[in-house]
């Protein structure tokens, strides 16, 4: 029997809406004493912060407006390229005033695929908000890393498009990564 006939459709997405903080980050908007703490506040539980990098940026809509009602989620491996189901996830929103998000995390290592190919260091990003009917997926790579053999970037081809996936190095530990939902600088979004 063909297994294709037995595959059900997955449940469709709907927008997370403007009030997603209530369910995803309640403590951050003052709904205290229900959940002990919000999920994904720190991606890696380390005592020493010295090795953390910082990634900041904004999410821009088609009019050039930086959004303040968007939620980003990130997923990554540790410095040695190992994924662990208990670490590496973060959730963050832009600051109300600056409209910039900030992610403090460890710099991920290169990842070895099951077929032996090596992925350059990267972080998966998922973006949800009012007006986004289906959460958007993209990746952050890092300026200064060797990206020439990354299997995923070879699918993107066009250099201008690849550059939308690369965080710009501000200094040793600080990177900038802006996300453009539309326009000339539109970020590459992935069907993962």
């Amino acid at each position: 029997m063909s297994s294709l006939n037995n595959i059900y459709d997955d449940t469709p997405f709907q927008t997370a809406g403007p009030f997603l903080h209530i369910g995803c980050l309640p403590n951050s908007i003052g709904i205290k004493n229900i959940f002990k703490h919000d999920l994904g506040i720190i991606p890696f539980d380390r005592k020493e912060n010295a090795d953390f990098i910082s990634i900041s940026g904004s999410v821009f809509d088609g009019s050039g407006q930086a959004l303040d009602d968007v939620m980003l989620e990130s997923w990554q491996c540790d410095e040695s390229g190992q994924y662990s189901s208990s670490q590496g996830f973060a959730r963050f929103v832009p600051n109300d005033k600056t409209k910039k998000y900030n992610l403090k995390t460890v710099k991920p290592g290169s990842v070895k695929n099951s077929d032996g190919t090596i992925q350059s260091p990267h972080i998966l990003i998922s973006i949800s908000s009012r007006g986004i009917n289906m959460s958007l997926n993209t990746r952050i790579y890092f300026e200064g890393d060797d990206l020439s053999n990354d299997p995923l970037l070879s699918f993107v081809k066009d250099d201008d498009k690849v550059s939308t996936l690369i965080a710009k190095k501000v200094d040793e530990d600080n990177y900038n990564f802006d996300i453009y939902l539309q326009g000339d600088k539109e970020t590459v979004f992935l069907d993962i």
Binding site: D9, D10, T15, L39, G62, G131
Partner: protein, 241 residues
């Protein structure tokens, strides 16, 4: 060797990202086609949450924000169901987070401008991790419909927001559940951004009278299907042969 990949998303069953009837989507929908990439370990892995993060009242929205044991105002309901994969296999250990308006259609959120009352005993958030048969259950209050600015003032049907974590980042789902029989569903542009009739219908929680009778509370059933995996076996061979 066996290659594991996520079953490709069928975009015909998903909402259209640029759906002008829903005004907010106009400036927030990418214009370029998404680039389709094979599943790597990055997409096949994901955060898994331990049941010890869940407090006793996390799935009881009627009590988890109550002051002095006072109940929130409104019709008490049960929302329950199962989380399954595309082969209909129940998924255990899946984190579900929900959020919703109170009985009057008001969110406990500083940016909600709807002129309706806050209920001091209701926050509208809950979470749960599915049990061994993939099931979940929330005790809550029937959320009210509410007006919002779109093409003029329009009405959101009664709904509960759902955020679901599977076992991999590629299974992540954010959606909304609607209520069987709500006349506002058909007019909602967010619902109608999904053109496939069956897909749209799959977001409507159905009245579960059997459970309503057993538990003596109105119950709605909402099953959620997350993406499954393809497993393909390849004989080991040298590249190029």
């Amino acid at each position: 060797m066996t290659i594991k990949t996520l079953i490709k998303k069928n975009y015909e069953k998903q909402p259209i990202s640029n759906y002008p009837d829903y005004k907010s989507s106009i400036l927030r929908s990418p214009k370029n086609k998404k680039i389709s990439v094979p599943s790597s370990i990055s997409e096949l892995s994901g955060p898994v949450f331990n049941k010890n993060i869940i407090g006793n009242l996390d799935n009881d929205l009627t009590l988890n924000y109550s002051k002095n044991n006072k109940l929130p105002i409104g019709q008490k309901i049960i929302v329950h169901g199962r989380v399954l994969d595309q082969y209909y296999k129940p998924l255990e250990g899946v984190l579900i987070e929900i959020w919703q308006a109170n009985a009057g259609g008001k969110y406990l959120h500083m940016k909600d401008k709807n002129n309706a009352a806050i209920d001091s005993n209701f926050a509208g958030c809950g979470r749960y991790i599915t049990s061994s048969n993939g099931s979940y259950e929330f005790l809550t209050i029937q959320p009210g419909a509410y007006p919002y600015p779109n093409r003029g003032i329009e009405w959101r049907p009664m709904h509960i927001h759902f955020s679901i974590f599977g076992k991999s980042f590629g299974q992540r789902l954010i959606t909304q559940m609607y209520f069987q029989g709500d006349p506002l569903i058909q007019f909602c542009p967010m619902v109608n951004s999904i053109t496939d009739k069956k897909a749209k219908q799959s977001l409507v929680g159905s009245l579960d009278l059997t459970k309503s009778e057993t538990d003596q509370l109105l119950a709605y059933k909402f099953d959620i299907i997350l993406r499954g995996y393809n497993q393909t076996f390849f004989e080991n061979r040298n590249e190029g042969l």
